[in-house]
Amino acid sequence: MAGALLSDHPTGDLRLDRLVKRFGAFVAVDDVSLTVPKGSFFALLGPSGCGKTTTLRMIAGLEEPTAGSIHLGTLDITSAKPYRRPVNTVFQNYALFPHLDVFENVAFGLRRRRISRVREQVMAALDLVEMTHLARRRPAQLSGGQQQRIALARALVNQPRVLLLDEPLGALDLKLRRQMQLELKRIQVEVGITFVHVTHDQEEAMTMADTVAVMNQGRIEQFGPPTELYGAPRTTFVANFLGQSNLVPGRRVSGGGSHLIPVDCNGQTVLLPDDRCMTSADQVLVGVRPEKVHLLPAGMNPPTGHNRLVGGRVADASFTGVSTQYLVAMPWGQDLTVFAQNVGRGGPVPVGAAVTLGWEPEHTFGLEGETGTPAGRDARVTARMR
C-alpha cells in the first residue's frame, strides 16, 4: 500500500519550484526554487526563523505548501503523504521513540514496509554509525551524540532518495560537533544518498556541503559551491552571513581597462572586475574579505595594479594566535577589518599607526546598495548567540 511512490525508485534531482508557505498572513517560505543534484550534500543555511525547517518539512510532507511544487526526478511529490515519500528526516531533536530500544527504533521503517532481513540491515546501519554495542539500550539511556547517531541510522537504514537533516548537530558541544561533521560527511560519501542539511552555522555549511543555499526571511538569497558563495557573494546579506566582509559605498566612474570597473570610494578609486559586480546601478558597494587585505605602513604603496585605500589608522588590534585582527578607522568614518597572518615578519602593527590598505582587484566584489550598513550582520549575531 505504501506502493507506487516507494517502489518505483525515482532517481534524479530534488527540485523545489516556486515553493511558498504561508501561516495566516505570515509568509514563512517565499517563492523558493532550488535544485539539489542527486547524491550531493546540500546545506540550507540561514538565521533563526528564516524558514529552513518549514522548507524541510514541506519536502518531508509534514507541511503542505501553499503554492509551488516539489519533484523528485520526474515524480511530483508535492502533495504525497509523508509515509509514501522516499524521504527520511533526522529531526531537530532526534524524536527517537522512547518506548522502543535502539534496535527497534532503527527497525521501525523497515518493519512498516515489511522488508525482509530486518536484523541484518539494522545491524549494518548501526555498524555504519558505530553503535552496534548499544542496540538494546533505550534512547533515554544514550548521550546526545549517541542519540544523534541512532537518529541517523534510523533514517539511513531505509535507503531514502533524500535524507533531510534539521540541525542535527545543534545540541552537541563544539568538539563533538566537529567530529560529527566529519563523520556525517564520511557517511554521505559512503552511502551516496542526497543529504539536505539545515544549519545556521556557516562554518558547518561550508565545511560539509557541496552546495550551500543561503536563506533569509523565507527567500533564497544565493546558492552555489561554498567557495563561490564566499568569493563572490551576490547580496550584502550573504557577504556578511558567510564570513565577514568590508563593504565600502562607492560610485561608478568612467574609464577603466578590460573588464575592470573603476569605482570612486570617497575620493579614492578602486577597481572591480565586471563579472563580480552584481549591480548595474551607479551606486556600488565595494566588498573585500578581511583576509584578502594587506596592511602597509602609510606612504608605502602596494604593487602596481592593486587596489589601494589610504588614510587609515589602526583603531584596534586583537591577537588571535594564527592571525591578528585589525580594525582600521578610515577617514570617512568607517571601520574596516583586516586579518593578517602571523607569519613572523616583524611584530604586529601598533594601535594608532597610520596605514594604507591594499588588495588585488580580483578579490573585489560589487554589490547593490548605497550604504555600508552590513545588512546581514544583525542576523548573523543572532544566529551565533543561539
Binding site: 500500500m1 505504501a2 516507494l6 518531508a60 510532507g61 509534514l62 503523504k81 509523508p82 509515509y83 509514501r84 524521504v87 527520511n88 528526516t89 529531526f91 531533536n93 524524536a95 521513540f97 522512547p98 518506548h99 521501525f108 521503517g109 512498516r112 514496509r113 534510523r154 533514517a155 531505509n158
Partner: protein
C-alpha cells in the same frame, strides 16, 4: 547535606564532622515517610485487621441480632463464596464492561483535548470535570429519568426498533453499566489526557516519516506512549466500579442486577450480618488486588515510569 541537618533540627547548626553527618542523612527519608506511615497504619492497616477479624466471627447462639463472637471460622469464606459468587462475577462483569466502554469513549475525547483542542483545551477539561460539581446520587437519579419511559432515549430506541415495543431500559443491566460508565468517565479521561498531553507531536511525525500510515502510527507510537494513562485510567475506573452499589441500587433495582456492593450494604445495614459483610468486603479487596497485580504485570510496569 548541611541543609538536611538544619532542616531536621530546625536551626542553624555548625557543619557536622563527617562521621556524625551520615546519621541524619540516612534518617531523613524515614522521617519524611512517618506521617504517611502513621496515616496508613491508623486508617488502613488497623481497619483491615478489624475487618479480617470480624469476617471470622460467628453468631452467638441464642444471642441478640447483631451479636457476634470471635471463633476464627474460616469456613465463613466458603459459605459466602457459595452463596454470592453470582454477584461477584456480575460485579466484575459490569465493572469490566463499564471500564471498556469508558476507555472507548474517553480515549478519543482525551486525544482530542490533548492534541487538537488548542486554546479550547482548558475549557474542555473543565467540562470533563464539571459533573463532579453535582452530587453523585443526583446525577445517578438523573440517569433514571434519562433512561426512563419519558426520557429521550427509549422512544428513539423504539423508533429504530432496537428494543421491542414493550421493553424498557431502566431497571436493567444496560442501565447499571451505562450509569457506571458515565459516573467514572472522568476518572478515565483525566489520566489519559495527562499521558496523551505529554506525547511530543514530533514522535507522531517521525512515525509518518518512517512509512507508518496514521493508523499504524497510532498503534505503534501513540498507543504505547499513552499506556501509563490507559493503565491508570482503567484501574481508577475498574476498582471503584467493582465495589459500587449506588448505580445498581438506583438504576438496577432488581435482583438480577445486584452487585457485590449491594450485598455488602444490605448484609451490613439491614440484616446486621457483620461477618458476611466483612467476608464479602475482604474477598472483594483480595480479588481486586489479584486482578490489578496481574493486569499491571501484563501491561508492563516499565511503561508506568
Amino acid at each position: 547535606m548541611a541543609f538536611t541537618t538544619a532542616a531536621r533540627t530546625g536551626g542553624p547548626v555548625p557543619a557536622p564532622a563527617p562521621p556524625s553527618s551520615r546519621l541524619p542523612r540516612s534518617r531523613t527519608p524515614y522521617l519524611l515517610l512517618l506521617p504517611g506511615l502513621v496515616w496508613l497504619g491508623l486508617f488502613f492497616a488497623v481497619p483491615v485487621a478489624t475487618l479480617f477479624s470480624t469476617s471470622l466471627q460467628t453468631r452467638v447462639p441464642g444471642g441478640e441480632i447483631g451479636e457476634y463472637t470471635q471463633t476464627f471460622r474460616f469456613a465463613n469464606y466458603l459459605d459466602t463464596i457459595g452463596e454470592y459468587h453470582v454477584q461477584f462475577v456480575r460485579s466484575f462483569l459490569y465493572a469490566g464492561l463499564a471500564t471498556v466502554l469508558a476507555l472507548l469513549i474517553a480515549y478519543p475525547l482525551a486525544y482530542y483535548i490533548a492534541q487538537r483542542a488548542g486554546r479550547w483545551r482548558n475549557i474542555l477539561l473543565v467540562l470533563v470535570v464539571a459533573p463532579f460539581y453535582a452530587s453523585f446520587i443526583l446525577r445517578t437519579i438523573a440517569w433514571r429519568q434519562i433512561l426512563g419511559e419519558e426520557g429521550p432515549i427509549v422512544p428513539v430506541l423504539r423508533f429504530l426498533h432496537l428494543i421491542p415495543a414493550g421493553a424498557t431500559v431502566t431497571a436493567s443491566a444496560v442501565a447499571v453499566v451505562a450509569g457506571l460508565t458515565y459516573n467514572f468517565l472522568p476518572f478515565m479521561t483525566l489520566p489519559l489526557y495527562a499521558s496523551l498531553e505529554r506525547i511530543d507531536p514530533r514522535f507522531i511525525e517521525a512515525g509518518g516519516d518512517l512509512y507508518a500510515n496514521p493508523f499504524t502510527t497510532f498503534r505503534r507510537v501513540t498507543l504505547p506512549l499513552s499506556m501509563p494513562g490507559v493503565v491508570a485510567g482503567t484501574l481508577l475506573t475498574f476498582i471503584p466500579a467493582a465495589g459500587d452499589y449506588i448505580n445498581a441500587t438506583l438504576l438496577g433495582r432488581q435482583p438480577k442486577t445486584t452487585m457485590i456492593g449491594n450485598v455488602v450494604e444490605s448484609r451490613f445495614l439491614r440484616v446486621v450480618d457483620y461477618p458476611t459483610a466483612a467476608t464479602l468486603s475482604f474477598l472483594l479487596m483480595a480479588a481486586i488486588l489479584v486482578l490489578v497485580f496481574g493486569y499491571v504485570r501484563r501491561a508492563g510496569t516499565e511503561e508506568l515510569v
